[in-house]
Subunit: 171 residues, 2 copies
DNA sequence: GAAGATTGATGTGTCAATCTTG
DNA sequence: CAAGATTGACACATCAATCTTC
């Protein structure tokens, strides 16, 4: 053996590489399916899903954080969905007139029901039965531990639960 | 119980969401560290690392596949690294004059040694001791199983091992 | 002056079309 | 005409600067 056995280091590098590749593969595939079946990108689906999850409306800044987007990114995407698809509207509240609220329209909800089906189908196909329930849950909790340990930003509070867009009920 | 308990579906959705968030967090952090300490982006580091891993040279197309990049993306990034940093040169072989080879320069190797340290430091910080060796290995094999099961492209052959850029030896 | 959001300039990556060589 | 690579046009996301409201 050499003087410095980087066992843990190698395992970390391998884990990162696997995560990187899996994520790229999955997101690419999901994006393709969503575009084909629902006429929207993954990012757009996510935006609608987050809105639905938050009772149909959210302030731009919160939306951006929930989506892991920059503020301007959120602005641009909402703008597109608003005046290119009519799936979202922006309104200003009188309580705090600095804030802009993005709100799901009926058309947006309709589009979302389509995209949710497409999304779940894509996920089901990608995971198939390659991992059992136990493995899925283990991966999830492990990754969430990493996220929690490194999420040293987001002052407001809610963050870990913000992206669970597709569970209709928590049953 | 209801008639359709989407247990597996929920677990899959949660796993995807965790992977999505973890990946975004990690890559963002790694990118920041690399830019600060080595003056290059994660994509650029990956490109150099893949070249090193392939004995310092690779054809553009293979490079693109290894990086999960489009062909044009590889062209653009190599072009930048070539005439903006001098870390890579492009040469054409006389054997098959369609192909372009990207080749690591001495300056590129030098830059890579710096970025490798920064990269490993970032990884070490992100994973820290939050996961043990067993968990790291479990995650890795699980994700690799998913990748293998869904990688229904890449005709040439090599793919799974193409991105193990930072292991100097396989020990 | 700080919080919230938007806009201008810019970087980065993709697709479709093109050029060259086999 | 297929394989390999490059280019033009474009989509998307970011940062820094700006504008408005608190």
């Amino acid at each position: 053996v050499t003087s410095e056995p980087p066992d843990r280091t190698n395992a970390q590098l391998a884990a990162w590489a696997a995560m990187f590749r899996a994520n790229a593969l999955f997101n690419g595939r999901i994006d393709d399916v969503l575009k084909a079946k629902a006429g929207m990108s993954l990012a757009e689906h996510e935006l609608l899903a987050v809105l639905k999850y938050h009772d149909g409306r959210a302030r731009m800044g919160d939306l951006a954080r929930a989506l892991m987007f920059s503020k301007s990114g959120a602005t641009r995407l909402v703008a597109k969905l608003e005046d290119h698809n009519g799936w979202v509207v922006r309104t200003r509240s009188s309580a705090d007139r600095r804030a802009t609220w993005a709100e799901l329209t009926p058309a947006g909800r309709k589009a979302l029901t389509t995209s949710e089906l497409a999304f779940e189908a894509a996920i089901a196909e990608l995971f198939a039965t390659h991992l059992g329930l136990t493995e899925l849950r283990r991966i999830t909790t492990d990754l969430e531990r990493l996220i929690a340990a490194n999420d040293w930003e987001a002052p407001g509070g809610s963050c870990a639960e913000d992206l669970a867009p597709d569970s209709h009920d928590v049953s």
